[in-house]
């Protein structure tokens, strides 16, 4: 190493030692303020997302719970394709109100009583929920089905009691 090289390295070392060690404090303060602003915005966005989700869930529940007006028809249940007509309809112990909330002493006439309905507590109030059922599942309800159409589905109203358990079913198509 020549003398000039060693003086160069000495000078570079001195230059490195002379350099400031840190950025000015106000840089940290500015960054910290920015970070806090971002954290607040993130928190606000999170709350908005949670609130939005809760509102959406509430609307979904309301839509799902929207009662379907029950028929007060006294006509015998219609025969459905794929479902044999031997199942006995629920006896008219009560009648379901048009709002779907059954009052004591009310029931729809065209609902089939489900097999376990007899062992459930008496119906004080009820809600009707419209569902799409596979025809094959009707066997479990004690409804005789046409095996050729077991793979198809059928639209039905379920009559749920005050305990949320199904008492009866009504077929729509």
């Amino acid at each position: 190493m020549t003398e000039i090289d060693s003086r160069l390295l000495e000078g570079l070392r001195a230059l490195a030692a002379e350099s400031p060690c840190e950025a000015p404090r106000h840089v940290e303060a500015r960054l910290l303020a920015e970070f806090r602003g971002r954290s607040r915005a993130r928190l606000r966005n999170r709350w908005l997302a949670v609130a939005g989700g809760a509102i959406a869930a509430g609307i979904a529940v309301l839509v799902w719970m929207k009662p379907v007006p029950a028929k007060l028809a006294s006509a015998p249940p219609q025969e459905h394709k794929g479902v044999a007509s031997q199942a006995a309809p629920v006896q008219p112990q009560t009648t379901v109100s048009l709002s779907g909330q059954a009052q004591a002493g009310e029931v729809a006439e065209d609902f089939y009583r489900l097999p376990d309905a007899d062992i459930l507590p008496p119906l004080d109030s009820a809600v009707i929920v419209r569902v799409q059922l596979p025809i094959s599942s009707l066997v479990a309800m004690g409804v005789p089905v046409d095996e050729d159409r077991a793979n198809e589905s059928i639209q039905a109203d379920l009559l749920l009691g005050q305990d949320g358990l199904a008492r009866g079913v009504r077929f729509l198509n």
Binding site: T2, L8, L12, A14, A16, E18, S19, P20, R38
Partner: protein, 192 residues
């Protein structure tokens, strides 16, 4: 830079992503010094160094998960960001800094000689004139001098920060030192 390979940096980056202020502050305090010095030694201007330091950590704040541990240390990653920002700033200010960036220009030679080339140079004067000489180097040479000689970074890490081969770092450093030595010789000739 003694804290180049700091344990837990990846963990800090994850915590920063979750909005942990303490993690951000700790990370900033660990790394701001070298980033600021690099920007200052590259640009020669405190206001650019401040802006670059701020922008580097703003980028960390915005996208802390962009760092890939497989591609090098956090320090090399931060130097890489700082380098791009400094070069962009220098490019924007080229009309004003052209004279300093061109090592062959008369102005650059004058800058390398220092304010009073006829005086007998003390160490502090030599340091000052060396600082100007480093600033007068072309950016590609200046950055290797700053990283390897002033920040004492090893060649491999410098190559990661500069996104080039280790051989390129070596050859640039060799050439940069030769340029600086030449300036010192010229300065001493003027001083005699």
């Amino acid at each position: 830079m003694p804290n180049r390979l700091v344990d837990g940096d990846s963990d800090f980056l994850q915590r920063i992503a979750r909005g942990d202020e303490i993690a951000f502050l700790t990370f900033y305090r660990r790394h701001q010094g070298p980033v600021y010095r690099f920007a200052l030694q590259m640009s020669g201007r405190a206001e650019i160094a401040e802006e670059v330091t701020q922008d580097v950590f703003m980028m960390i704040m915005r996208s802390p998960k962009q760092y890939d541990p497989g591609r090098g240390s956090v320090a090399a990653y931060l130097y890489g960001i700082a380098r791009n920002l400094v070069l962009r700033r220098l490019e924007q200010e080229r009309p004003y800094l052209a004279a300093l960036d061109d090592p062959d220009s008369r102005n650059a030679q004058l800058a390398a000689r220092g304010p009073d080339p006829l005086s007998d140079l003390t160490l502090s004067e030599r340091v000052e004139s060396l600082r100007k000489a480093v600033l007068a180097l072309p950016p590609a040479y200046r950055e290797v001098v700053v990283l390897c000689d002033l920040e004492e970074m090893d060649y491999a890490e410098a190559a990661t920060a500069l996104q080039c081969a280790i051989g390129t770092v070596r050859s640039r450093l060799h050439r940069a030192r030769a340029l600086l030595a030449e300036k010192m010789r010229a300065e001493e000739r003027c001083a005699v």
